[in-house]
């Protein structure tokens, strides 16, 4: 079994640095995310491993949930993040076989709101 923590951390950081992204949220399945949220609350975990990487046989599914800055079209930011993830995964030697990338916008922020959140 591959530990994808470091890859998830790198992808999370790359998404955060993408123009138009104002935040990244946990994309793990609900139970895993709930455990993670508790860990964050207890300050046991820094929220920097938020991209979910699921490997099954020769198929890897990567999921990311984001918020976008209202100044830019959410569709544009969404496509940019999707393409970024594909590019990064293409260059990642541990990824073999087919890949699916899911990116979801959970929130379109008001202009300037990302500065308040400190998430970007």
């Amino acid at each position: 079994m591959t530990d994808d923590t470091e890859l998830s951390r790198q992808l999370t950081a790359a998404i955060r640095a993408t123009e138009g992204v104002s935040g990244v949220y946990p994309a793990q399945p609900i139970l895993e995310a709930a455990a993670g949220a508790v860990a964050v609350r207890l300050a046991l975990r820094v929220p920097d491993v938020l991209v979910d990487i699921d490997r099954a046989d020769d198929f890897t599914t990567v999921s990311a949930h984001i918020s976008t800055a209202g100044e830019r079209p959410a569709t544009e930011t969404l496509r940019r993040v999707g393409e970024l993830l594909l590019e990064r995964l293409g260059a990642e030697p541990s990824i073999r076989g087919e890949v699916a990338v899911n990116v979801k916008v959970r929130l379109v922020e008001e202009a300037g709101a990302s500065a308040v959140s400190g998430l970007a």
Binding site: G23, Y25, P26, A33, A34, A37, V38, V40, R41, P47, L50, H65, S67, G70, P73, A74, T75, L78, R79, G82, E83, L86, E98, V99, A100, V101, N102, V103, K104, V105, R106, L107, V108, E109, E110, A113, V116, S117, G118, L119
Partner: protein, 199 residues
Amino acid sequence: MTFDATSVPEDDLDGHTMEELGDYLDRGRTPYDPSIETSAACRLALVGMTRMQELARTALEHESGRDPARDDAWISGLLDTIKTEIRSGRDIPVGHPNPVLRLALTEAAVRGVIRRAGDTMGGVIMGRCVLDGDVTTPGAPIRIDVTAGLEYGMSVAETADRLRERITRALAEHTELVIGQIDVTIDDVYPGGDRTDDR
């Protein structure tokens, strides 16, 4: 280890309650709580609650002639709406030529866009917002159904038209939804105040 039923998290708020979020907002979002600030659902709720605080403040400035019981019901109704609308809901797809990429906005994110288009217009306070139709099928026309409170003295027809225009523009900017119709129901009238129009 005993399990206190009251500590069971609200599943839509990533382990938090509306009360906790209200307290956090009252403290000026300090100290920074990563479990709130890194939750999309909590952030959506905070956006709505912040707007509600602003509206409540405006209402207090125009205290005379208001019925406190009616105000409580109004605020409680808005809170319920906020709570309902933070549920992620359906995934609304965004197209990409590469089929490996599955891109979407959640229904809650889109409702947030619609709500902001109205709440920042001036002269209306958004109420319920429903996306009616098959939003999961690209290109399928849908109907938007919104309710709003109207500032006293404003024209219903003109305000509704302006609201439709703003919603149409906001959705065209942030989504690929095909809007067949936008129904606006004015269900309340509130006293006028100093407005910060964003026309």
